[in-house]
């Protein structure tokens, strides 16, 4: 399966989804006016990934900012992952947040409480 690779911009995160390694990364800022367009390829890729995955999947989410429009799309991504976790193979989410960024930690905890996938909260210390 082809990896998904999207370069980051000032308003959209960088994306590296590697099926072979089972490592998915979303990093940067996610604040587009309309996030559906941006997240569609990610959700589509995960649909295809579900059919091909065998081993464990590690998901690294390291967002500096995300807007409420993105928050729903990120939930959609997590729901796809939850589905893989339930029916196929183990998924683990590493949720990174900057030191003192309680809002970002809380955002991770919100997802953790909605999605039935193990989350690990990781503080980035400079």
């Amino acid at each position: 399966m082809e990896p998904l690779s999207i370069e980051g911009t000032a308003k959209t995160p960088s994306v590296r989804f590697d099926a072979e390694k089972g490592i998915l990364e979303i990093k940067g800022r996610s604040i587009p006016e309309n996030s559906i367009e941006f997240y569609k390829p990610l959700v589509d890729w995960l649909d295809a990934y579900k059919g091909s995955t065998a081993g464990k999947t590690e998901v690294n989410v390291q967002l500096e900012y995300f807007n409420t429009s993105s928050s729903k799309c990120i939930l959609d991504v997590f729901k796809k992952l939850e589905n893989i976790h339930k029916s196929k193979a183990e998924v683990m989410v590493n949720w990174f947040y900057e030191e003192d960024d309680e809002d970002m930690l809380e955002a991770g905890e919100d997802y953790e409480s909605i999605i039935h996938v193990p989350f690990k909260m990781i503080e980035i210390v400079d």
Binding site: Y65, K72, E102, D103, D110, I114
Partner: protein
């Protein structure tokens, strides 16, 4: 006397103003404002915590404007650009930031907005968290990409009550101003 947007805008532009804009709310304006506020807050040496809160609030309030600005009444639209909105960020002596944003709305939206803000203002942090999670998990994104979460998110992140006013322009149109506080 009907509402005068220039007078109102000038009144907001007193004290220590950090960012001020009046005009069409476009993607370019949003991008430029976000860049500018980051640079300004860095220059002031504001803490990363406050910087992030202001940045987040600014993203949500500008995108609220972007998604919800109504068509102008004819007598206003002859003087103003499309998608007209205002934004003023200022800071008082106690280091409390005020983010004011405003746009024209038709009168039928007043009740919805008023009820929504009053409701959000009445909730505790825990209740806001529950409301946020409920909307996140149960409400679909609109075609425009709005999720009905913006104001709840703002209230959660700022921890301050929002203040609002509706100023009559003519029978059917009002100017809606929202003040958001960060400290």
């Amino acid at each position: 006397m009907s509402f005068n947007v220039d007078e109102f805008f000038n009144k907001l532009n007193t004290g220590n103003v950090i960012l001020s804009y009046k005009g069409s709310i476009t993607t370019e304006v949003i991008n430029g404002s976000l860049e500018e506020i980051e640079a300004k807050l860095d220059e002031i040496g504001e803490s990363s915590k406050i910087k992030k809160k202001i940045y987040n609030v600014l993203v949500e309030s500008l995108q609220n404007l972007y998604h919800h600005v109504d068509d102008m009444p004819d007598d206003v639209s002859t003087q103003l650009v499309n998608k007209f909105g205002i934004l003023v960020i200022s800071c008082d002596d106690n280091n409390k930031y005020r983010i004011s944003c405003g746009n024209f709305i038709s009168s039928e939206k007043i009740k919805y907005l008023k009820d929504k803000i009053d409701k959000i203002n009445s909730l505790s942090q825990n209740e806001l968290k529950d409301m946020y999670k409920f909307i996140l998990n149960h409400q679909k994104l609109s075609a425009k990409g709005g999720g009905g979460l913006g104001l709840v998110d703002i209230a959660r992140k700022t921890g301050h009550k929002m203040e609002y006013s509706f100023m009559n322009h003519n029978n059917d149109y009002y100017f809606f101003n929202l003040d958001i506080f960060v400290s």
